[in-house]
Subunit: 352 residues, 2 copies
């Protein structure tokens, strides 16, 4: 059921990128690598946020025969490109979806042509600007989508708060990593903003607003009841995979989150439950780059032994049930409910 909308989003994205590329290289053909890199980057991804927006649109009575809606949803995928490119810089990630991350790609390009100055700086500066460009393009995609003045006015406040919440969630997450530990409550709040709101609730509201739903309508409230717990469940699954996932499946190094020192609800719960001796061992390893396989296994055993994995699995189950109950609402159209049920499954696969 999702493959049709997904293809329509891909086509709309391709159309926007072709026009944006023309506009960019009309400034200078030297900008071709920037546009190409962003296009290649955007070839991957599950289009989760545009798909949720489409589901929100359909669920609030919108017709998926309207082409404009696909063009409008492209803006969410461009926003996500900015988030990922900048996130990889902040995390110092070398790879993304099995390929070099944007800053590494341009670091290598600079190094191969023996560019003047420092290659790492060049890579970071280029990725910074490409992320900024993706953010700028995301607004442009919405403005050029062909939606009506009324639709633009309704969706703008949602798109604005969504972007503020994204940056806020990113900061809280990153800031949490600079503390010795954070509470489970704080970790769940970060998951609420980074996944519940940014990935699901706000895209649903975005689509609902485009279909004419009011900000205080029951349908948008039902979307919140579905989106926030589902997003948390989705983030918690991601957190488990970040520690225990098979790198051939996740596309990231084994124990990536452990080396990165990512303070998830899983880690917060484990830290609260470890004995003082175990906590010392944990702290001496957690967040160290280049952990050996043995050290990763030690951390995994400590986390498992604390009961945190069972706690998180139970939480995932509870939140998923909450989410699925919330869409059992007659204010959401049946086609919308079907899309939401399909997306609940898609979203709990590894995020990209």
């Amino acid at each position: 059921m999702l493959s049709g909308p997904r293809l329509a989003i891909d086509r709309a994205l391709e159309r926007f990128l072709a026009d944006a590329h023309e506009q960019l290289i009309s400034i200078d053909s030297e900008l071709t690598p920037i546009s190409s890199a962003l296009r290649e980057f955007l070839a991957g991804g599950k289009r989760l946020r545009p798909l949720f927006a489409l589901a929100g649109f359909a669920g609030a009575g919108g017709s998926l025969e309207e082409e404009n809606i696909f063009q409008a949803c492209v803006s969410l995928e461009l926003l996500q490109a900015c988030a990922l490119i900048h996130d990889d810089m902040m995390d110092g990630s070398d790879t993304r979806r099995g390929a070099p991350s944007m800053h590494r790609r341009f670091e290598r390009e600079h190094s191969e042509r023996r560019g003047f100055g420092d290659s790492e700086n060049f890579g970071h500066a280029t990725a910074l600007l490409i992320g900024d460009l993706a953010l700028v393009w995301s607004t442009q995609a919405l403005n050029l989508s062909g939606i009506s003045d009324q639709q633009l006015r309704s969706v703008n406040p949602i798109f604005d708060i969504m972007r503020v919440e994204l940056m806020a969630g990113q900061y809280l997450d990153m800031h949490g990593g600079s503390l010795e530990s954070i509470s489970v409550e704080s970790a769940l709040k970060i998951a609420t903003y980074k996944s519940g709101k940014y990935t699901i609730e706000r895209p649903l509201h975005f689509g609902g607003a485009l279909a004419g739903a009011d900000a205080d309508s029951e349908v948008l409230a039902a979307y919140s009841g579905y989106g926030i717990p589902l997003g948390i469940a989705f983030q918690l699954r991601d957190d488990l995979l970040g520690v225990f996932g098979d790198s051939s499946v996740t596309g990231k190094p084994a124990g990536d989150d452990l080396m990165e020192g990512k303070r998830t609800a899983l880690i917060a719960h484990a830290q609260e439950r470890l004995s003082p001796a175990a906590e010392r061992e944990f702290t001496s390893l957690f967040g160290r780059k280049n952990l050996t396989q043995n050290e990763i296994d030690t951390l995994r055993t400590l986390i498992q032994g604390s009961g945190a994995v069972d706690f998180i699995e139970k939480l995932i189950e509870e939140k998923t049930i909450l989410a699925l109950t919330a869409i059992n609402n007659p204010k959401i159209t049946s086609s919308g409910r079907e899309l939401l049920a399909d997306l609940a499954i898609k979203a709990t696969q590894r995020s990209t």
Copy 2:
């Protein structure tokens, strides 16, 4: 004549920031330092782009009695905050307007509280997000300004292309720095995009569109005839100051651009004219961090001796005359012309 509009812009900015702060900390009070840092950052600056937008608005017949226009112009100052914060990261600048640059500020904050992880990374990640937030707020400020649907529709394409051109100019500038040398022509193109278009022409168009001027109107064409040469002149003055300026006046270390390896029209012209021996000496020093005062003086003497300073001074004069001639156009209102003449003087002071 400029102090009234400047005060009105400051008030509008303060109003937007107060609301944006409330929205941000309603997410989490931990976000207070982010909002405070951006507010302090925005306390400085000449408000050049909002002032040009107001001049463009008045010149196309708009009335400065309308409060909405000031709120709309705030978006340009927020965009500039993003540009500066990210630019300082790319350039590795330690200071901005005599205070620590954003990434250094948060590096220090992390280091003082002995935060977990690397302080430099934390500083960069925080500044990256604050710049992103400023970019997001810049769109939000426009959307919330209270302008009509018609005004929003007219100004959006200009704001979109302006931001694309900004990122393009930043990339061309940064990329130029990774080459052994660039042509005077390329350097002037960078100045056209970074200053001519971004600082002057597009803000004027932004204001003109808000006053109802069509994209192909004579008044917007006159703004281009004024804005592009004036912006180039302004950038060329900045380039001279970046090499020869007194640090107590510029607020930047002496010879800053020399250590940064900034490939300006001044440098491009000098490199084209130096003898092979002088060129070798130049290349061995240019772009090295921590140049001694003697080495800075050597580079200054080489540039001066190449005739590049005279060439640039002459170019500044020519471009300024072109700009001032262009505003002698009866399609621009007399109050608009007065503002533009005042701004021509203000803009050729050191940029901030």
